[in-house]
Symmetry: C2
Amino acid sequence: MKLYDFEMAPNPRRVRIFMAEKGIDCDRVQVDLRAREQLEDDYLKINPLGTVPCLELDDGTRLVESVAICRYLEETHPEPNLMGATPVEKAEIEAWQRHCEFNGFAPVGEAYRNSQPFFDGHALAGTFGQFERIPELVERCQARVAFFFDRLDERLGETGYVAGDRFTIADITAACALDFAMATKVYAEGSADLANLNRWHGAVSARPSFRANPVKPRD
Amino acid sequence: MKLYDFEMAPNPRRVRIFMAEKGIDCDRVQVDLRAREQLEDDYLKINPLGTVPCLELDDGTRLVESVAICRYLEETHPEPNLMGATPVEKAEIEAWQRHCEFNGFAPVGEAYRNSQPFFDGHALAGTFGQFERIPELVERCQARVAFFFDRLDERLGETGYVAGDRFTIADITAACALDFAMATKVYAEGSADLANLNRWHGAVSARPSFRANPVKPRD
């Protein structure tokens, strides 16, 4: 297997952490998003969406979309289970994963991309994202992110992990969202008083999978 | 089982069509989004996210998030398969479903909600969506929707269905996005020249599952 990756980007980081939890290793190819290599012809032949990550299997099949790639890895490497064992648990973990993705991870990215002139004409990721930035979005996204982490702190006062009493893909999404938010200063302050969030974030960040895949500092 | 539903809303419609494809019937409770019943205490006790659909199982377990509900139904009612049979097929269908959701379904809703004064203070759905509208978003979303359907038309010139040669959850997401876009006039014109899209849309709309769950006209 070969992972098309970019170490500074949050989506490939989710997949690398997921793989590390399962003890899966594979070759990695860096696609430099700072140079927009993901939109060059060579890479578009690999993934026409112009996004990373992309997982290439040994038979040449290419899988895209972070959570879909995780689904493949969960099916082929079931242990440790990260996406649910029973029908109800699968649905509950998927619901939490989606909640963290739509209400946490996505608005962090939206605030960041719509605030940075680098993303002029590339307000969203990939070939489907070549639209102008809307700076008015930034403040709303920052408020959404703060609201999300406030509510997540309450949740983590009741449960050890995002989706319940054990570590799952929902924790990967939520922790990568928090790390990304802090690295981009979308959520520079505000978490200090959130004791449950901080306790959880410390525990998750200490896992070997996170320590092996740290947030890369931005230039 | 009991489905908390609203017939005019596109997300519950996705789940109702998915259930109809599998021959699953259940009680349905209408939550009137026009009256904001989803944000009243009675419903927030059922689903604190303040969104529909929500599926209540016979033991009282409540599942939220449309695609997570579909995952539960797929696991408990495997036939006909709508989310993939092998690890690769599961990943490919999930990737197409996500692509249609993020680049098609979501911007339709975003254009609609940010254009209508009814959504003042409710620019996104549910308890996590109580933020002001940004009318500047509407035009960008309309352009994203048009681009999405142009590219989907190309795809459907190569394959019979969105994710390949058979009907899957990705077709439900894409067709519900198209119906929603036309009903809200986010995409009032433009599809007439898209022969592949129209052929596919006609075939999908003729399925008993879609005919039993039509788009409800807006007031």
